[in-house]
């Protein structure tokens, strides 16, 4: 199936990536080719196949949910592009 411009606009909105018209055009072309390639899979009948979600035979392990902050708040904040005291700063979301 070929991907149209509106689809690219829609998924770029979902993915939170702003695109200009030129980018939308080139991505529409690229994605159409890629999906044509991907859709070779439709040749295969997989009705009776179980999907493989993990190649490991054992179930995922989980750890105890304990607070372990490492006491490195200052260092963590150093990587933030915008901060104030001990907070991350984002554009205003409520008036």
């Amino acid at each position: 199936m070929s991907i149209d411009k509106d689809t690219v606009k829609h998924i770029s909105k979902l993915a939170r990536i702003s695109l200009d018209d030129k980018k939308i055009d080139s991505l529409t072309k690229d994605l159409s080719l890629i999906f044509k390639f991907i859709e070779q899979l439709n040749e295969l009948n997989t009705d009776k196949v179980e999907p493989l979600s993990s190649i490991l035979n054992e179930p995922f392990r989980s750890r105890k949910d304990e607070i372990n902050d490492g006491k490195i708040r200052e260092k963590i904040l150093e990587n933030s592009p915008q901060k104030s005291e001990e907070f991350f700063v984002v554009p205003k979301v409520i008036e």
């Binding site: 998924i11 993915a15 702003s18 994605l31 439709n42 999907p51 979600s53 592009p81």
Partner: protein, 486 residues
């Protein structure tokens, strides 16, 4: 002493253990090559000063009982290194300084090694030519106009040009094996779960696996021994006893059965690659192995399935880059949503955007069953193919790549032809099994070509042994004219 940087890791370790050379001499030699090797663009961050200090410190009270005593190592810039910038080849992480160390690099440092620098790679490990890095193309030391492969292109280039004695990469669809093949080096993708993923910048979590890139198979066994460990911090880490791959390495492969899958003989495969493969078969026969024709019928569907699974997981993993807690942030931020959209538009390169959009689409409402679920079913079929084959054979021999290293820019504008590079490597990641690429010949340009051996889960020792047997018979050497020093 002759140029130490041309020696294998194993040989350097032997010399240091016999106290015939000091860590500082070794480190100085590699630092000199790094300073002369800037044209390759294989380094993003240089840690040479720190490395020289660590070497001096090591020499003061050397502990020679470790696997990598006093060895400087540059690593792919996808491994988080404490207090050293980790960029993943992206503008998004240009100034990111981790507060923690990845398990894999910790393991290396615990074995006596120290950091020499961070190596260039395709952005977020998405690419097969190292042309998607925000920090520029890496050049293959074999010729000035060729790509080193990708995504671990900086690792392969630095290793082949003797800028580091050994290195590590990550392999999601061939990112260790393809660049190894393009540069005449050895690269191993271990069984999924053998090497911890903790502290590695995530691409596609069900496929990502770290592994060694080395000059020889013996070096590869030593590095894997140092890297592999059970890690409680990686929920998919396999809990098993550590193996002594280097001590148990042998070229005696008599009686092993090696499968040749007919589906890997693809249309348009060059005569040179075909000859290489035939020669590999012959060498294995000469070593006493038995050659068996096998079939992996769903091979052709591996790449299309991969281009659903990998982008889907990537779109989810890369959702974390929102310009708030770390990383790049756009100044166009009139409101929160716009801030996200511009941060991600300006912070990610074209290939990363392409894959995030593919992933977002295949996971979006109404399309999940048609794409993602379908791909998971195909993944099961591909795994079944391997399971069936491994009832008959101990390992599988294929070429590593359909061609040798290509020219910079040659495939950049055609995503499909770029993706086809990984046609022989991708099935292994989907099945979670181990595979190694080793140099086994050259083409008419004298560019290296690699052979790939694929094994059963956790059967790395056997793969290393078979590779060792081939390596001894091939006796591959490459003499580079060091154009980058001119």
């Amino acid at each position: 002493m002759s140029d130490i940087t041309q020696k294998s890791l194993t040989e350097i370790v032997r010399l240091i253990k016999k106290k015939e050379i000091k860590s500082l001499e070794i480190t100085e030699s590699f630092v000199k090559n790094i300073n002369n090797g800037k044209k390759l663009n294989s380094f993003i961050t240089n840690c040479t000063e720190d490395a020289l200090n660590k070497a001096k410190k090591f020499d003061k009270s050397p502990n020679l009982e470790t696997l990598l005593p006093g060895i400087p190592i540059a690593v792919k810039d996808l491994f988080c290194t404490q207090n050293v910038k980790t960029t993943a080849g992206s503008k998004m992480l240009e100034n990111f300084v981790p507060n923690y160390e990845s398990t894999i690099t910790s393991n290396l440092w615990n074995e006596g090694a120290f950091l020499l620098g961070k190596l260039n790679c395709d952005e977020y490990a998405m690419g097969s030519s190292n042309e998607t890095s925000y920090f520029g193309n890496v050049i293959n030391p074999i010729a000035e106009n060729t790509v080193p492969g990708g995504s671990s292109g900086g690792s392969a280039s630095a290793l082949a040009a003797n800028l580091t004695p050994t290195t590590i990469g990550t392999d999601t669809g061939g990112s260790i094996r393809q660049p190894a093949s393009f540069t005449g080096t050895v690269g191993l993708k271990p069984t999924y779960g053998l090497c911890s993923r903790w502290g590695i910048v995530a691409f596609a979590s069900s496929l990502d696996q770290a592994g060694p890139m080395t000059k020889t198979v013996e070096d590869c066994s030593l590095m894997l021994e140092a890297m592999a460990s059970f890690d409680i911090k990686d929920s998919t880490s396999i809990n098993k006893k550590k193996e002594k791959y280097s001590k148990n390495l042998t070229d005696n492969i008599k009686g092993l059965r090696i499968g040749i899958p007919k589906e890997y003989r693809i249309d348009g495969m060059s005569k040179e690659v075909d000859e290489l493969w035939k020669n590999g078969k012959k060498l294995l026969k000469d070593s006493g192995a038995e050659i068996v024709d096998i079939s992996l019928p769903n091979t052709k569907y591996a790449l299309p399935a991969y281009y659903i699974v990998a982008p889907a997981e990537a779109s989810s993993n890369l959702a974390r880059y929102d310009g708030v807690k770390y990383g790049f942030r756009s100044t166009k931020d009139n409101n929160l949503t716009e801030m996200y959209e511009h941060t991600r538009a300006e912070g990610f390169g074209d290939e990363v955007k392409r894959r995030i959009l593919i992933g977002t689409y295949v996971l979006s409402s109404g399309y999940y069953d048609a794409y993602y679920l379908k791909a998971q079913k195909v993944r099961q079929l591909i795994k079944n193919d391997f399971d069936q084959s491994f009832k008959k054979v101990d390992a599988i021999l294929t070429p590593s790549t359909p061609t040798s290293a290509f020219k910079i820019g040659e495939k950049k504008d055609d995503p499909i032809s770029m993706y086809l590079n990984d046609i022989f490597t991708v099935p292994v990641n989907l099945a979670g099994i181990p595979a190694i690429s080793l140099p086994a010949g050259t083409d008419s340009n004298n560019y290296p070509l690699g052979l790939q051996l694929i094994g059963r889960p956790l059967d790395e020792q056997k793969l290393l042994n078979i590779a060792y047997a081939i390596e001894k018979k091939v006796n591959f050497t490459q003499s580079l004219n060091k154009w980058w020093e001119k």
